[in-house]
Symmetry: C2
Subunit: 105 residues, 2 copies
C-alpha cells in the first residue's frame, strides 16, 4: 500500500500555482494545490460543472464570490456548488498555501 | 457561503470514535473521523464497496491490511481500493487522531 505525505515536496514557486491529481476517475477528482501568493487573473472566474469541496491545510487565502468574500485559514473548509462562480482573490505571501480540493458530480 | 473548520469542536471521547458526514451524495461521501485511542474490534475488517481516500490530519494511527501494516502520521494519505480488507489497528492515546476520508465509486 503506497503512502504519501501531502506536506512533502512543497516547492515555493512564485511564478505559478502547482496542481497535483491525487485521485481521478469519472465521478471524483481529488487535487492538491499549492499556491505561493498567486491569485486568479483579474476578471477570471472558475465556474465548473463539478461541485467542489475545498479544505485549506496550510496558509491563508481569500476566496471571492459574486456576492461575498471569505477568508480561509488552516482547517477551514467549504462546499462550492457546481457552476457557482468563484475566484482566488489572495493567497499568503509569507508561506505556501496548501489546498485539498475534491471535485465531484 | 458557510465556512467550517475541521479542527473545531474536537471532543475527546475515549469510549467511541466520532463520525461526521461533511458531504454525501450518490457518488461520494466525505467524512471526518475523530479517534481517541480506539481501534477496530478484534477480527473486524472494513471491506466496503467504495474506494476510500484517507488523509490523516492530526495524530497517529496504524492501519492493518491482510498482508501488511502501515503507520500514518500527520499529512499521510493513501487510497484503499474497494473491497480491500482493512482495519484500524491503533490510534494515538496521547492526542485525538483526525481523519478525512473520501469514499467514492
Amino acid at each position: 500500500m503506497k503512502i504519501f505525505n501531502i506536506f512533502e515536496n512543497i516547492k515555493i514557486d512564485k511564478q505559478k500555482e502547482q496542481f497535483f491529481d491525487l485521485i481521478k476517475n469519472d465521478n471524483v477528482r481529488i487535487e492538491k494545490i499549492v499556491s505561493n501568493g498567486q491569485s486568479s487573473p483579474k476578471g477570471f472566474w472558475y465556474e465548473q460543472k463539478e461541485n467542489e469541496f475545498v479544505l485549506l491545510l496550510e496558509g491563508f487565502a481569500i476566496l471571492e464570490f459574486e456576492d461575498e468574500e471569505v477568508e480561509l485559514e488552516k482547517g477551514d473548509f467549504l462546499n462550492i456548488p457546481a457552476f457557482k462562480k468563484h475566484r482566488v482573490k489572495h493567497t499568503s505571501q509569507q508561506e505556501p498555501t496548501i489546498w485539498l480540493a475534491v471535485f465531484y458530480m
